[in-house]
């Protein structure tokens, strides 16, 4: 389920997209696709889009886990100017997942900011990435 293309508050420099997905591995690509679409629309470079795609992917893994599980996760993609924020929440997989060493290195390199809050029942994350002028 997606609610897309909504410009908010009459401010043409901002948009907010909500995406609801089953917590299954095969749907993570739709989260990547949505992030890439928004980033492309606001002028991110190829490399910046790729950075955002992998950051979203790595964080979604914390909700989906390796095998998926019953439930849905919701992602909100928004931008202010040329900065994109992705927020998400979904049921925690069993057992809970942590970022691998590879994941941590990737996220530290490709995201301007990321934060994860995990409880036994729920995982939430926030991710931010800005376009950098040449």
């Amino acid at each position: 389920v997606a609610q897309t293309g909504r410009l908010t508050g009459g401010d043409e420099d901002s948009a907010r997209v909500a995406l609801t997905l089953p917590t299954a591995p095969e749907f993570v690509r739709l989260a990547r696709l949505t992030a890439a679409g928004l980033a492309s629309q606001i002028g991110f470079t190829y490399d910046e889009i790729e950075d955002l795609r992998i950051a979203v992917d790595e964080l979604c893994y914390l909700i989906v886990g390796p095998d998926g599980h019953r439930g849905t996760m919701v992602l909100w993609f928004s931008n202010e100017g040329r900065t994109i924020t992705v927020e998400a929440r979904g049921p925690a997989p069993r057992p809970p997942r942590e970022l691998s060493a590879f994941s941590r290195r990737i996220l530290n390199a490709v995201a301007d900011h990321h934060a994860v809050i995990s409880t036994n029942d729920e995982v939430r994350f926030e991710l931010r990435r800005a376009h950098r002028d040449e």
Binding site: A24, P25, E26, V28, R29, R32, Y46, D47, E50, R53, I54, D57, E58, Y61, V64, P66, S100, F102, S103, R105, I106, A109, V110
Partner: protein, 114 residues
């Protein structure tokens, strides 16, 4: 490489294996490697190594995405090949894959050739 190869359906990988001139095996990986498709890659590489392949070149020229779950599969294949006296080489990664290999530190572990 087949420039006119059929498009890969989302959520699937395709593989093509051939003997390399050096006697090793070359496997071409096509598609996106993520949490949903990494098991396909693991299965393919495990099967090749189980069949006695020692030196494996993994051609990534048509692999359009890889995340940390995919990196884990590559490291697993490398360990298994080296235990058997062989090695794994990554070939022709795209720019974005190369960046993931560099920032994750994978390029310090597995040889990469263009």
């Amino acid at each position: 490489m087949e420039a006119d190869a059929d498009p890969i359906p989302p959520g699937q990988l395709s593989f093509e294996t051939a003997l390399s001139p050096d006697g090793g095996l070359r496997v071409v990986v096509r598609g996106e490697v993520d949490v949903s498709t990494a098991p396909q890659l693991r299965e393919e590489l495990d099967a090749l190594l189980s069949q006695g392949a020692r030196n494996l070149t993994i051609d990534l020229g048509e692999m359009t995405f890889i995340d940390s779950t995919g990196l884990g599969v590559l490291v697993g294949a490398l360990k298994r090949a080296r235990r058997a006296g062989g090695d794994v080489t990554l070939s022709r990664p795209t720019r974005s894959a190369r960046r993931v290999f560099d920032i994750s530190g994978l390029s310090e572990i597995i040889p990469i050739v263009d």
